[in-house]
């Protein structure tokens, strides 16, 4: 691949990367090797090349292009493992059964690891061997980052977020945006309280595009009389280090949230409607810190469902409009929050029409894993999204709900492209709009 192509893709300062190609490959492999223990090695050793994971991946299903087979995306790293550190590495080296991975190989794999994978994990459910395919791809991304081959769009955001707490250049600090949202929507937003039981975060996408969702979350918290606060130093919980494949940046970004929560003595960090923010904070932050966190991490729908079940939050019944729900993969399939949104919808009396592939088997919105941020992925994204939109249409639904702001961005874009007759709405907003006054 040409240098120009590399620079077009590369992040992590690859264009100014003075390392030799071998050093960069070494960096990739070293990061990769550090990322696994026995369970990941098992995954790499166990693949029987049945190709079944292709049948779970929306990108393969939409295009039928062989390069999109999920396990193929991890091929370079599987090959390197067998050749360099597997049980019979010398055997594979001497007989030439596994070729050495080169920088050219890795460059070719950039597209597969970043531009055509949402890290959605659907492939991990179909594998007859039980391989955690998505985890291999995630670890592959870490290797790519260390080789200076993470997409610029993600690597730059990750670096910026690690440094400033904000993953984008902003005209106004997020704290200012929050205050404006409070004023515009007539809700009091608790910001920078020195002590609070709950630390709340907001999704960047909602601050910018769907401020009413932020206001809705605050409205419910106020109604519940929750002792909560946002913290200026850690307003967003999303983590671009996770997308870019940088364990170091991911840890720095997560640490900012963790430190703030510790500082105010929070017993709970409430993650807003943002899928990867939830997954990276709920299931990866403690692992990166190497410590058990002194607070719980909950998705906002989990928290609200708990309040409903405890009788603290009562909701009015909504209209009988047939409604489909999109299960965000990082929250539901990988995160385990399957029942909470359904508890809320049930309490609201939502006339739920489940799509065929729902709950843990839901098709991803196709924007996750950083793909929403990489413009060149749009044509592929749209092909995959068509599958999902058709599924939703097949239910006869007139309303479409979800619990992830990234999914909403992806569906809004697809909806606009296909002139879809539905708008993607926030479940939390529906809850906030239907609180029963006692």
């Amino acid at each position: 691949m040409s240098t120009t192509a590399t620079q077009a893709f590369a992040g992590a300062g690859a264009a100014e990367d003075n390392r030799t190609a071998e050093q960069r490959v070494e960096g990739a492999m070293s990061a990769f090797a550090k990322s696994f223990g026995a369970t990941v090695a098992w995954n790499m050793e166990s693949c029987i090349h049945c190709g079944m994971c292709a049948d779970a991946c929306h990108f393969y299903i939409a295009t039928e292009e062989a390069k999109y087979i999920p396990i193929w995306k991890a091929e370079m790293f599987k090959r390197a493992f067998r050749r360099e550190s597997g049980a019979f590495a010398p055997f594979f080296k001497i007989l030439g059964l596994k070729k050495k991975v080169t920088l050219d190989d890795l460059e070719e794999w950039q597209e597969l690891l970043f531009d055509s994978c949402n890290l959605c994990g659907r492939c991990s459910l179909i594998c007859p061997m039980g391989l955690e395919v998505a985890e291999l791809i995630e670890i592959g991304r870490r290797g790519m980052y260390e080789a200076g081959l993470a997409p610029k769009e993600l690597a730059e955001r990750a670096a910026l977020q690690a440094e400033t707490g904000v993953p984008e250049a902003v005209e106004k600090p997020y704290a200012e945006l929050l205050k404006e949202i409070g004023e515009k929507h007539g809700v009091d937003i608790a910001l920078d309280k020195a002590k609070a039981d709950i630390m709340v975060c907001a999704p960047r996408n909602d601050l910018n595009r769907n401020p009413s969702s932020v206001a809705a979350m605050v409205k419910v918290l106020n109604k519940l009389g929750a002792d909560y606060t946002f913290r200026s130093d850690a307003i967003v919980a999303e983590n671009y280090g996770y997308y870019a494949g940088s364990s170091g940046l991911q840890k720095t970004i997560a640490k900012r949230v963790v430190d703030q929560a510790k500082k105010i003595g929070a017993s709970l960090v409430l993650v807003p409607e943002c899928g990867h923010a939830y997954y990276s904070l709920r299931w990866q932050a403690a692992e990166l810190m190497g410590e058990t966190l002194p607070f719980k991490v909950r998705h906002v729908t989990e928290y609200l469902a708990e309040q409903v079940e405890a009788g603290k939050l009562k909701l009015n019944k909504v209209d009988g409009l047939p409604t489909a729900f999109h299960d965000p993969c990082q929250i539901v399939r990988k995160g385990g929050v399957t029942e909470a949104p359904r508890v809320l919808m049930s309490e609201l009396g939502v006339n739920l029409k489940e799509v065929f592939n729902h709950a843990g088997f839901s098709f991803c919105c196709a924007g996750g894993g950083g793909m929403n941020d990489i413009e060149r992925t749009r044509p592929l994204r749209l092909k995959a999204q068509e599958i999902k939109l058709r599924e939703v249409d097949d239910t006869g639904a007139k309303r479409f709900l979800t619990t992830c702001s990234d999914c909403r961005v992806a569906f809004d874009d697809a909806g606009e492209h296909f002139n879809w007759d539905k708008k993607t709405e926030s479940l939390v907003e529906l809850v906030a709009d239907n609180i029963k006054e006692s």
């Binding site: 098992w42 396990i71 049980a87 019979f88 179909i126 061997m129 039980g130 955690e132």
Partner: protein
């Protein structure tokens, strides 16, 4: 020493040594990487995770309804020839005698199937293997992810199956040579086993278990 004596004498012993030590080493090499301590607050208890992990060992053989429409053919063919081979290897009378001699045990209650059934199952197994091979080559995604290991393993399996059927049906050639070819190809299988994908026989249940166990701890879908 005749070729037959060689195949079931020194070569078999060598193959068994490679098999046993190779398999142990390949398993150890993975386990020695260690299991990482988990720090995240579990959603479900260890007991539940153990239960789900154990269940996943079996349940993963049956595809989820969301996938079956796309995977049914491949699964029927794949599981089909595995079941066929196990039936022949474990319930064919000559094989039962072989295992008992090999392990030096006498198990009078070990059931066997009539020779005609074993032959029919063998032929069906080869047909399914052929289907799997053609599919591997013709199906673009499968061809892309296939490598030397896949084709070499299949070649050994064909050698075993075809020589076995040949010996039983009394095809052309001296019986001793055909039987020797059957045993030699089995020895090759034992020798190749630790190096290639055949190891999935040992990895399948730990991998499924770990997947089920870790997902259950998160409450994630299995």
């Amino acid at each position: 020493m005749s070729i037959l004596e060689f195949s079931r004498g020194p070569m078999l012993h060598f193959a068994l040594l490679v098999f046993v030590f190779g398999v142990i080493w390949r398993l150890l090499a993975v386990v020695m990487l260690g299991f990482r301590k988990k720090y995240s607050e579990d959603r479900h208890s260890n007991d539940k995770a153990l239960m789900v992990g154990t269940a996943t060992c079996g349940l993963r053989s049956w595809p989820h309804k969301e996938f079956i429409g796309r995977t049914a053919f491949g699964e029927v063919v794949g599981y089909g020839y595995h079941i066929g081979m196990f039936t022949v290897v474990l319930l064919g009378a000559p094989h039962v005698i072989f295992w008992q001699n090999l392990f030096g045990v006498s198990v009078p209650w070990w059931p066997t199937l009539p020779g005609a059934i074993i032959t029919a199952v063998s032929v069906l197994t080869v047909v399914l293997m052929l289907t799997a091979t053609v599919r591997r080559y013709m199906h673009k995604p499968l061809r892309q992810i296939s490598n030397f290991d896949d084709y070499f393993t299949l070649a050994i399996l064909y050698a075993i199956m075809i020589s076995g059927i040949w010996a039983v049906l009394g095809g052309p050639g001296r019986y001793e040579y055909i039987l020797a070819a059957h045993i030699i190809s089995f020895n090759l299988l034992l020798i190749w086993f630790p190096f290639g994908k055949l190891m999935h026989a040992f990895y399948i249940f730990p991998t499924r278990f770990v997947n089920g166990y870790l997902h259950a701890k998160k409450g994630a879908t299995t």
